[in-house]
Amino acid sequence: MFRKILIANRGEIAVRIIRACRELGIKSIAVFSDVDRNSLHVRLADEAYPIGPAPSRESYLCIDKLMHVARRAGCDALHPGYGFLAENPALPRACSDAALTFIGPTAEAMEALGSKTAGRSLARGVDVPTVPGTNEPIENPEEARALAQRMGFPVLLKAVAGGGGKGMRLVSNDEEFLPAFRDASSEAMNAFGNPSVFLEKYLEKPRHIEVQILADSHGRVVSLGERECSVQRRHQKVIEEAPSPIMTPELRKRMGDAAVRIARAGGYVNAGTVEFLVDTHYNYYFLEMNTRLQVEHPVTEQVTGLDLVKLQIAIAAGHRLPFAWESITPRGHAMEVRLYAEDPENNFFPSPGKIISRRAPSGPGIRLDEGVYSGWIVPMDYDPLLAKLIAWGNSREETIARLRRALEEYSVTGIKTNTALFRRILAEPDFLRSEIHTKWLDELLKRPHTAPDSNSRSADAAAIAAALWHVSHESSTAPNEPEKDSRWKMDGRNRQLDRTP
């Protein structure tokens, strides 16, 4: 087993990996950019080293800096988490050059499966259906536009290196095509350092269902069952659950087998996720393979009882999978909501800033994977995911009841969060019946939303609290002080923090 693992990431996933390392008795080595010195993953890690300024291209995306830290700290393995370099084949290559075990697939498997276009042709090779579209990155936008016209709108533009909805655009008519192409390319360039995008037919009311697989280095590949991720905002997952409410044992078997075939065909090793679209007739189409740990891995952990991060580490250390697929018996129902620093009332704009107060839920059936704390300043430079709140219950109904209860307990002030969005979704009849698809949430958000009833007692309490707050603050801090909360001001506060005492 490894002695020291370098965690090439930040935020909640870095914390998640630190916890796995600690439970295995492995030292966890964190890295941090200038604005992350006070971040939770730095506080919790065994060691932590600076890797440069805030912009990720100058810190978390710098392979040479990571290798330098690995050498200095004497690491024998590296975990990439998700995002940043997690799907960049250059990282596993650099690791093997540095005699560092990469906790994930080989660079070759990443290339064979990670790129959407390569993955799709490989899937076809093992008789897994895919969504119609261009198989290659778009060289000539005009040609692609012509193809889109032949396939018929709507179509999707997707970053080849993509993930998480970044560099993705839905194009519903001819006029939108070229501007959408420009946006997608530049976003893809910014997010992944690669502007290539490709074209794909857009299915009506599809569900997003993905299969979690594990492959060890001795040829065993198993499926841990599916996750339902159809609740998405602009192609970004916001709620995930397992099992999928529409799943049947037969369909689960077929999709699981398909996922395993694809992984085998690509010579895949370690944890991976095979994403499918499932249409209203329960036909499934291979979408892409994520050659890394998923944000939503906890829902699979809660129903299987397995610790995917520890299994990733064991697989990388050459261990054999300690179980056969047959032995995995998912139990109950798990659901995750992604809590973001963003403002649902204002077009979901990111809302960085200082966390003034925080109340965390706990108790039966509740798990919180968090990367923040009260007093911490959420930087503007990275993905605004604050925490993942996961509930488990014996039934989907109990799970939703617990999630609602926990959301009532959860509170972060000082920044905007999307908790109100989840309060709304978890009360929607469509969602409770699980009559959802990948566009369901976007459509819901177009409908008018009634604000909290200001006649209720809670509005009375709020009014009283506002007056009490005014009493206690009119004398002290200027009420419009936060107005000057510019980024520079925040950094100033950061330094202030450093300076204390």
Partner: protein, 166 residues
């Protein structure tokens, strides 16, 4: 102490008096059986006829307050007889034209209009990027782009005015 609290589209009148170690509270002229304590900074526990409410308060850039309860969030403005510098005045300033402000710190990556252009409500004015997400800022009204303060590549702060639309 007497306060006007503008909340949920209404104006409530809150009267507070400190007597015998606790606050006595009246709302819109009606005395309440209320027990209000500050549990922690910016966090108030309020028992109204026994009903337990916890309200967490956070100020907004414009000087108004967000109020979080377990189930709802409110935005409120508080005024007292002595008035409150800045905000009312600030509100007046905004009149006469629509100011387009950056809702968060970020970087202007693309201008979609120029000063003088006619724009329709909902039409994209410029694209701001923050946390890797690109967001189009749209016109709140039909009219003309009177002034454009932002330039491509420029870093902008929360609340910073990007354009005027008239």
């Amino acid at each position: 102490m007497k306060y006007e609290v503008h909340i949920g589209g209404k104006t409530r009148v809150v009267e507070l008096a400190w007597s015998s170690e606790r606050w006595s509270v009246s709302l819109d002229g009606v005395a309440l059986d209320a027990d209000a304590v500050e549990i922690a900074t910016n966090t108030f526990s309020i028992l109204l006829d026994g009903e337990s409410y916890e309200v967490r308060v956070a100020p907004l850039p414009d000087g108004s307050l967000t109020l979080h309860t377990g189930l709802a969030e409110y935005v409120a403005e508080v005024a007292d007889p002595r008035g409150w510098r800045g905000r009312r005045h600030g509100a007046l300033e905004a009149e006469g034209r629509q100011q387009i402000a950056a809702p968060m710190p970020g970087k202007v990556v693309r201008l979609l209009v120029q000063a003088g252009d006619a724009v329709e409500v909902g039409q994209g004015l410029l694209v701001v990027e923050a946390m890797k997400m690109q967001n189009e800022i749209r016109s709140p009204k039909n009219g003309r782009v009177e002034k454009l303060f932002a330039s491509e590549g420029q870093a902008v702060n929360a609340g910073e005015i990007l354009a005027w639309v008239d």
